[in-house]
Amino acid sequence: MPKEKILHGIPASKGIAYGKAFIYEIKKTEIFQTPILSVYLKEEVARFERAIEKTKEELKKIKEQINREIGEDFGQFLDAQIMMLGDESIVETVKQRIFDEKKNVEYIYNEVTGEYAKKLGESKNAYFKERVVDIYDVGERVLKNLLEISQTSVLEAPSGSIVVARDIPPSEATLINPKNVIGIAMELGGRTSHTAITARALEIPAILGIGELMGKVQNGDDVIVDGERGIVIIHPSAGRVTYYETQQKKTQQLEKALLPVCELSPETRDGKHIDISANIEFFAEAGHAIKYGAIGIGLFRTEFLYLARHGSPSEEEQFKVYNALAKKMKPHAVIIRTYDLGGDKIFFDYHEANPFLGWRAIRVCLKEKEFFKTQIRAILRASVNKNIKIMFPMIATYEEIKRVRLIFNEVKQELKSKKIDFDEEIQLGIMMETPSAALMAPFLAQEVDFFSIGSNDLTQYTLAVDRGNEKISQLFDHYHPAVLKLIKEIASAGHGANIWVGLCGELAGDPLAIPLLIGLGIDELSMSPSSIPKAKLVLRTLIISQCQEIAQEALNFRTALEVKKFLNRMVRKRFPGIEEVMK
């Protein structure tokens, strides 16, 4: 019996999976050069044509899969690859050179595509430079088909597979079938990598960024992926297996028990309705949101649209996704948050020393006005469904919201003059995630229709802690009184101006935090879909006046630990039913 090995990584998608390793490896192609006898030259050309045809079929299949699973027309970027594949200049040049040079097609094809890649690579424009990736992508596929190297695909993973890989390219990640793939372990990648996003959308547990992994696992090995603790266990001992199987059973039973809860209306024991909605980043997740009983989408992250493809998505591409989501969630609302990444994600030659305090989110959008307007236009056009709200991230100053509104109105006017329909009453809100916004909330509230508190970033910026940094991540605590005081400021300012105040972020789905947040006056809680049933159960044990008393007192403590101790004690005492849920 091989010895048990435990590897640590980044827990990128929650859950526990126990299955057999399926190794996904990108096979390298080696190009050789050999002379071809004149009589065989025709066959060499025919071989080339067959390889092109076969590759075209492969790409079409992937495109269909992407369109089906991510969203209609989302595989459009593969069109460019399909065209590069059948490109007249390349195909003709290759054929001609086979006859002229009397050499094997692999060698010639590699030379010809290499020349194009070189030309593109010399371009000063980052976008065109990046297209080299496409040439290599296509080229690799053709060469593999020529050399008859069978590239394994995650499509072939049998039922009960844990996919083990160094890296899974985006085009491959979209082919993961959750019926067969139950877990993912990867050497590279982090929480925002394409694979992580896909795994979360499909509810497959995943550990990424493990470091050395491939040499330690073989096809068919027993593997456990623990997405709660961020560990991968290879050759688990019998005791370990029993432990995890029990855990899994418990989770399944809990989920089953919670299913009827999804239907319950989200209100407190004394009848106050609180909107419980879902945070999603992927169209496919809308299904989970509905299944778990979300009252709409409280946060639709649009970053995926930018990360999933090379370059920024067109208005049309974005519109299709927003429109489909709005239609799917009707009659409930969908809050779409605009671009919330660093500038380096769209301007590939841009780097900075301090990204979290740098050129990101709204700061990128206000500088790159046309880029910003494209997204706003797509959102406005989808708002004809009458259930879309728009939300802007990382507002830190009053000037910023003023400028955002100016641009927003400009786009509205442009649409009007072109006679393009949109929802004239669309609500405009901002994320409250910087301390400066919280302190200036009474002024900001005059300019918007709602606030949504981003508790993760608000905590990070208030406590000046990068939670991704292991050395200091223990300093990151949502329950810190400084954070709670700011939340209170925001809620009071919002209500003072008659606008609603929501909270999206991990805190919203934390059973211990819910009574506190309700007591502070939060009107809407938006959380990951799977947290919703539990949150509803918690909510239904609460009484508003008592939550308010608890919240008032919680603000008087000195440390996060004191707050948590107090909450644990008080919540159980005041709301006896909660004990059952908290377990």
Binding site: D87, K119, Y127, F128, R131
Partner: protein, 85 residues
């Protein structure tokens, strides 16, 4: 033969999507299609050729159509070069 200088108006330049649309459309006509930028001449029915021109917004390219249906070809392709998507 029709030959004219056209300015690229698309925000992102003649990137992969409009370029592939351009080629797809060009292939529907029998005329020979060529693009010239900064003295470099490429086949207008080759996406690789077009991409290597790296046309950004504001770039001036010469569109050359030559053949029986050159008039229709030119009119159709011009729209893509001047388009906004």
């Amino acid at each position: 033969m029709i030959k004219e200088i056209i300015t690229i108006l698309n925000e992102n330049g003649l990137h992969a999507l409009p370029a592939s649309r351009f080629v797809k459309l060009a292939e529907k006509f029998s005329s020979k299609v060529e693009l010239v930028k900064d003295g470099v001449r490429v086949n207008g029915k080759s996406i690789m050729g077009i991409l290597t021109l790296a046309c950004e917004k504001g770039a001036k390219v010469t569109l050359i159509c030559n053949g029986k249906d050159e008039k229709e070809t030119f009119a159709a392709l011009r729209q893509i070069l001047e388009g906004q998507d």
